[in-house]
C-alpha cells in the first residue's frame, strides 16, 4: 500500500512557524523508508500525519494532502486509518493501554475494538506474540516487562491488527543496544514479509544497513531524499544535525587521503572487507 504526501504544510495550534513545510514524498508499497534529522526537524509530525493524528487529533492548520493506499487521511477517521496504518511511539511504557492485565489481553485490545471474531483474534494474537518472541510471557502483566519487551509488545499490538503500513516513531530511542537490535531484527523481518515501513530513527548504523529509502528532514522541510548511499554521501550532512555511521566517516577519511576508492559500504561488515583490501594493498 503506497503512501503519497503532496505539498504538506502543517502548523500546530498556537504555533507561529509550521512544523512541516511543503513536504512531498512518495513511499512505495513494501519499502522501508527511514526518516532522519535532528530533534525538531519534523520526523514525529510527519509520522503522525501519515497515521492521521495530524490533523484529526492535534488539529492545527494543514495544507496539502496525505493519502494512504489512495485514501485521503483528512477524509478518513483515525479509527478507519487504524486498519491501514499501525504506529509505534518512542516511550514503550506510555503505549500500554492500562486497561488489560496480561500481555495477551494487551495485544487483543485493538482487535476487540475492531470487532474481530474471537477465534480470529486468538490466532492473530498468538502469531503476533510469537513474531516478537513474547509468547512465553503472555500471562505476565504488561507493567512487569522491561523497556525492550514493552516496545516489542507495542509492535505485537500493531502487528496483530495486520495493517499493511507500520510507522515506528523513534521506537528505539529509549532502549539499550540489545533492545535496539531486537527491534531492528523485527523491522527487518517485517520488511522481508512485504510490509510498508516508515521508521524515524537516530541510530544511523541501522538506517544505513536496512533502509531502502532515506528522507533527511531539516527544520520541517526535506533536505535530501534517496537511497542510503545518496543521502549519507552528502558532503554537508553534518550541517543538518545528522552524523553518518562511524565506519562511513572512516571510509570517507580514507577516500580523502586517496587510500581507498569505491562504493561507500552500508554495513560494518562491508566496511571491514573494504578495510581489509586497503590493508592488503
Amino acid at each position: 500500500m503506497d503512501i503519497v504526501v503532496d505539498s504538506l504544510t502543517y502548523t500546530y495550534p498556537g504555533q507561529a512557524q509550521p512544523a512541516l513545510k511543503d513536504i512531498s514524498l512518495s513511499i512505495q508499497s513494501g519499502e522501508l523508508c527511514c526518516l532522519i534529522g535532528a530533534n525538531g526537524a519534523g520526523k514525529s509530525t510527519l509520522c503522525c500525519a501519515i497515521a492521521g493524528f495530524v490533523p484529526h487529533f492535534y488539529k492545527g492548520e494543514m495544507y496539502g494532502s496525505v493519502t494512504v493506499g489512495g485514501l485521503d487521511t483528512v477524509q478518513s477517521s483515525i479509527g478507519n486509518l487504524a486498519r491501514r496504518v499501525g504506529i509505534v511511539f518512542q516511550n514503550p511504557f506510555d503505549q500500554i493501554t492500562g486497561a488489560t492485565l496480561t500481555v495477551f489481553a494487551e495485544v487483543a485490545f485493538g482487535l476487540e475494538n475492531l470487532g474481530i471474531p474471537r477465534d480470529e483474534t486468538m490466532r492473530r494474537v498468538e502469531n503476533a506474540l510469537r513474531k516478537v518472541n513474547l509468547w512465553d510471557l503472555r500471562t505476565r502483566s504488561p507493567l512487569e516487562l522491561s523497556g525492550g519487551q514493552q516496545q516489542r509488545l507495542a509492535i505485537a499490538s500493531v502487528l496483530a491488527m495486520d495493517p499493511p503500513i507500520i510507522v515506528l516513531d523513534e521506537a528505539t530511542s529509549q532502549l539499550d543496544p540489545a533492545g535496539t537490535r531486537e527491534i531492528w531484527q523485527i523491522i527487518a523481518m517485517l520488511h522481508a514479509s512485504g510490509k510498508t515501513l516508515l521508521v524515524a530513527e537516530h541510530k544511523m548504523e541501522y538506517v544505513a544497513r536496512h533502509a531502502s529509502k532515506v528522507v533527511l528532514l531539516y527544520k520541517g522541510g526535506i533536505a535530501a531524499c534517496g537511497s542510503p548511499r545518496d543521502v549519507f554521501g552528502k558532503a554537508d550532512i553534518a550541517a543538518f544535525g545528522v552524523r553518518r555511521p562511524r565506519f562511513m566517516e572512516l571510509m570517507s577519511g580514507l577516500a580523502r587521503e586517496g587510500l581507498w576508492q569505491g562504493e561507500m559500504p552500508l554495513t560494518l561488515e562491508d566496511a571491514a572487507s573494504a578495510l581489509k583490501k586497503v590493508a592488503q594493498s
Partner: protein, 271 residues
Amino acid sequence: MPSGDDVTMGRATLYVHRDSAIHRLNPLTKGVFFCCVVVVAFTAPSVGTVLSLLGAVVVAAVVAKVLRNLATLVLKSAFLIVFLIFVVQGLFYPGSKAALWRIGPVTVWREGLNFAVFTSARLITIIAATVLFILTTKAEDLVSEMMAHGLSRKLGYVVLMTMQIVPQMQARATAILDAQRSRGLETEGGLMKRFRAYVPIVGPLVVGSIISLETRSLAIEARGFSSPTRRVRVEEIPDSRGERISRWAAAALTALFVVWRFVSWISSSIH
C-alpha cells in the same frame, strides 16, 4: 485466554487471586448481591437481621478463601469509626433514661449502647460486603461486563485507567523528588520550606503526566478505540442462566423488602 496468577502489580487494586466459586461468579452477580446486602443492611429492622447478613458475608469470604484479608481490611477501616460510635452514642445518646454504668461524672446509657451496636453492625456489614466484592472481583472484568451491558467505552476506560494512574503517578513523583533532592532541593524543615519544595515537584509531575496521557491516547486511538464497530471480547466471562435468574430474584426480593419496611414505617407513624 490466559490469565496470570499475580497480574495486579502496579495497579491500585485489592483483588486477591484465588480459585473459588465466588471468584468464578459473574462480576455483575457479585455486584447485584453486594448492592442487595447494602440496601438490606440499611433498612433492616433489627440487629439480628444485620448480623445474619454479616454471617452470610463471612461464609462467602470463607468459600472465597479470603477471610483473613477481609478481617484485616475491615478491622483497619472500621475500628476507629466504630470506637467513636460507641463513645459518642454510649455517653451522649439523646433521650437516654437507663444508665448502665456510672464512673464518676461519666454515664454509659443502655439506649446509646444498643444504638451503637446496631449502627456498628450495619457499618461493619456494609464495609465487609464492599471489601469482599473488591477482593474477589477484577475491576477489569467488572468494567468489561458493564461495557457489555451498555456502559460507554470511554467511561469504562477512564475507570480502568484511574486504577493504573495512581501507582504510576506515585512512582513518577518519587523519581522527580529524588532527582530534585540530588540537585540540592531541601524537602525537610518548616511548613513554608516544605511547601516551597513542592512547587518544583508538582510542575514536572503534572506536565510529565499530561505528555504521558497524550501518548497513551494516541496509542489507543491507533488501536481502534474510537471505532464505531461493536467490541468483541476475547475473554468470555461466564454468565449462566442460573446466575441471571438469581440476580433478578435477589433484586426483586430486596425491592420487596424495602417496600415492606417502608409500609411498616408508614403504618407505625400513623399509629
